[in-house]
């Protein structure tokens, strides 16, 4: 089977664009509110702090836990 046979012209897609919400009909997202909520992901947390969205008082964990995690020693080894 060639790669083009699996996805012949016109197949498969499937979006009915009349059923999707148009961007022009939706208000903008309030990022200040959304990004002031803490996240489990330590990298995202650090990024939001760095970008000024997440303040110390918003954090659910104490401030000395805010450091970015390093990679596991075995993961470092594998990349060598």
């Amino acid at each position: 089977m060639t790669k083009t046979k699996r996805y012949p012209k016109g197949v498969p897609r499937g979006a009915d664009l009349s059923r999707t919400v148009k961007a022009k009909d939706v208000p903008s997202v309030d990022f200040e509110k959304l990004l002031s909520v803490d996240t489990s992901n330590p990298h995202l947390r650090a990024l939001r702090i760095q970008q000024g969205f997440l303040k110390d008082e918003d954090l659910q964990i104490k401030s000395d836990d805010k450091k970015l995690p390093k990679q596991h020693h075995l993961e470092k080894k594998e990349k060598k």
């Binding site: 060639t2 790669k3 083009t4 699996r6 996805y7 012209k9 016109g10 197949v11 498969p12 897609r13 499937g14 979006a15 009915d16 664009l17 009349s18 059923r19 999707t20 919400v21 148009k22 961007a23 022009k24 009909d25 939706v26 208000p27 903008s28 997202v29 990022f31 959304l34 990004l35 909520v37 803490d38 996240t39 489990s40 992901n41 330590p42 990298h43 995202l44 990024l47 939001r48 970008q51 000024g52 969205f53 659910q60 964990i61 450091k67 970015l68 995690p69 390093k70 990679q71 596991h72 020693h73 075995l74 993961e75 594998e78």
Partner: protein, 621 residues
């Protein structure tokens, strides 16, 4: 302030996306919506959690608006359905069943029935434990407004991928042998719609996931659902910014906030062992829960949201089998099962039996149910897991008896239609080993081929402590067992450690994984001479037990080289005390290893590992 480029395929040194899938009919919107849920479960909860497009699609087909799966739709209706019903894993429901069914087609815009037609139909028939296998979704958001371009970038940078839908032309689709059929539409590997009238005439709607962007390229990084064979980058491609009506900033743009995804216990089953669990309920679905033995043979339940607090001392409702939970003589082993996310608790009693309790979450006010006791002459901490044989999967326990052997008990959860309605017996499957000093919460099911699915034979690993003070791994050889004959053999494997006199706890973490098909590393913690030792195999442990070897019984495992290395040690910071025993170990949503240890002063302390080191944390009240 937004980053100038983002790529969720590899960000901060880790992969955050499941493998590219291939849709088999016009259901791109399902793949976009389900891919979004999978990505957010990974980003927020550190989980590879494969979800089933069939679970949503085959249900939407007949239960929502009579909308056949393979006819056009949008991601919004899929996300709404998932918000109401959750989304299960492929082991729960995946394979479509062929057939036809009368489907009512509504007239456009009116909602009034237009007619009834025969459609190729699939009927969703998920396993009976679906309520305990679903990831839940609190909400999702449509993105839009005048600054949609910048808002898409901010969302992707600070939260995660988004869906989008667009007019998909022939020059986007056509690829042959890794090269575009319309090379003029791919400038430096960035897709720019050609606007050729012939090309535009073939356009149709298509939904995809946007998983990054690059300002230098002036392009979005998109993930398609036409398999890894499509496109310039194994199923991914760069799609030029802007492009008006032919771009991807027009509609169907949906995101899920981090706090709104709630993972299922089945996806987390290898991430915890012992008396410690990160629950899918509670504050942003990452509550920490601990159960301990307490004065008077009672069990106490502690929970952590912002800080540790005592939840309750266990009490059973009247009418329970034994009416006694004041019989706990050891550390409880706890899991959250596919029975409605119920907590299941097994512990050694003060009369040398094993006691099984469950916290029934079927109703709004959960209660403890007593499943009674089993076994005799038990002297050890039970290793307790749910495995993938049947759905709900069977329960397996391995525990030391007073003769220094290990006993493997199991409960068959499969063989009735409504398994939660019956009290089923625990059965002794096998007795093995000798000169065993201690059993611990170390039982983990290995990765079988096709591991998301039920009934795929996958070996069990276990570590015990022998009377010579060494730890030893045991392997239950399920892949080579004769299903029509005796139960699988337990095979003794390598020994490691010295002077071990407390029970170990072991989990399989996500360290070393690159996608949902790659097993993570084993992590084992044990208290030795007053401090905690953290052991892990030095090589990637997908080959632990060497299941690829055809005749494992011919290998002298006792003399095999140990792959285990002592990785870290950590002491308590409580003055005048030592660590007596490790009770439970998890890998949490924060991508940390976390454990609960018993100190020599009788208190319980929380430790966590990240940033390359273990840190002693709070002492439980």
């Amino acid at each position: 302030m937004t980053s100038s480029s983002v790529d969720w395929r590899n960000r901060w040194g880790h992969s955050w996306l499941t493998q590219v899938k291939a849709q088999d009919c016009g259901d791109c919107y399902l793949f976009a919506a389900v891919g979004l849920v999978e990505a957010m479960l990974r980003i927020e909860h550190n989980l590879w959690s494969l979800r089933s497009e069939g679970d949503a699609g085959d249900s939407i087909s007949f239960f929502v608006d009579h909308h056949p799966k393979c006819t056009p739709g949008g991601p919004e209706e899929v996300l709404n359905w998932i918000k109401q019903n959750g989304i299960a894993d492929p082991g729960c429901w995946e394979t479509p069943q062929a057939g036809t069914q009368d489907v009512t087609i509504a007239a456009p815009d009116s909602g009034a029935p237009q007619g009834i037609v025969k459609q190729e139909a699939h009927v969703a028939m998920p396993t009976p434990d679906r309520p305990g296998r679903i990831a839940k979704l609190d909400d999702w958001i449509s993105l839009g407004g005048p600054s949609i371009h910048n808002d898409m970038k901010t969302w992707i940078d600070t939260i995660g991928p988004i869906t989008t839908c667009f007019n998909c032309c022939e020059d986007f689709m056509a690829y042959s042998d890794g090269k575009p059929t319309y090379p003029d539409s791919w400038v430096n590997d960035v897709y720019i719609c050609s606007k050729d009238p012939k090309n535009l005439a073939s356009s149709d709607g298509h939904c995809i996931l946007v998983v990054g962007y690059d300002d230098d390229k002036q392009a979005w990084l998109i993930r398609n659902s036409w398999g890894p064979e499509w496109g310039p980058m194994n199923g991914y491609a760069w799609f030029g910014y802007g492009q008006g009506d032919w771009g991807i900033e027009i509609g169907g743009i949906c995101g899920i906030h981090n706090k709104d995804v709630n993972p299922d216990p089945w996806s987390k089953r290898r991430f915890h062992n012992g008396n410690f669990y990160e629950d899918g309920e509670g504050m942003h679905y990452r509550n920490l829960e601990v159960w301990t033995q307490y004065t008077g043979n009672q069990i106490r339940h502690y929970s952590h949201t912002h800080h540790w607090s005592l939840v309750e001392t266990l009490k059973l409702p009247s009418g329970s089998a034994t009416m006694n939970v004041n019989d706990c003589a050891g550390v409880p082993s706890v899991l959250s099962s596919t029975y409605f996310r119920n907590y299941e608790v097994i512990y050694q009693t003060n009369s040398g039996k094993l006691h099984h309790l469950s916290y029934d979450r079927r109703v709004g006010s959960p209660t403890w149910t007593d499943w009674g006791t089993f076994g005799k002459d038990i002297e050890g901490i039970p290793a307790f897991i749910q495995i993938n044989y049947g759905a709900p999967g069977n329960f397996e326990v391995v525990v030391r008896n007073s003769q220094g052997q290990l006993e493997n008990w199991w409960r068959d959860n499969l063989t009735v239609d409504t398994p939660w309605a019956f009290k089923k017996p625990w059965v002794l499957k096998s007795t093995f080993g000798s000169d065993v000093l201690l059993s611990g919460a170390t039982l983990v099911q290995q990765w079988g081929d096709g591991q998301p699915y039920i009934d795929i034979p996958a070996a069990l690993d276990l570590v015990c402590v022998n009377k010579d003070g060494k730890m030893q791994r045991w392997w239950r050889d399920d892949p080579h067992a004769d299903p029509n004959n005796s139960p699988a053999n337990w095979v003794p494997c390598e020994k490691f450690g010295e002077n071990i006199a407390s029970p170990p706890v072991m989990i399989r973490s996500d360290f070393m994984t690159t996608n949902e098909t790659v097993p993570g590393n084993y992590e084992l913690c044990v208290a030795v001479n007053g401090e905690i030792q953290h052991w892990c195999p030095e090589y990637h442990c997908s080959t632990c037990g060497r299941p690829e070897l055809a005749e494992p019984e011919k290998i002298d495992w006792a003399d095999a080289d140990s792959p285990w290395t002592l990785f870290r040690t950590i002491k308590t910071n409580v003055p005048g005390t030592d660590v007596q025993q490790v009770l439970g170990l998890i890998q949490s949503s924060r991508r940390r290893l976390e454990l609960i240890a018993l100190l020599t002063n009788g208190k319980f302390q929380h430790f966590h590992y990240d940033n390359g080191a273990w840190t002693p944390g709070h002492v439980l009240p």
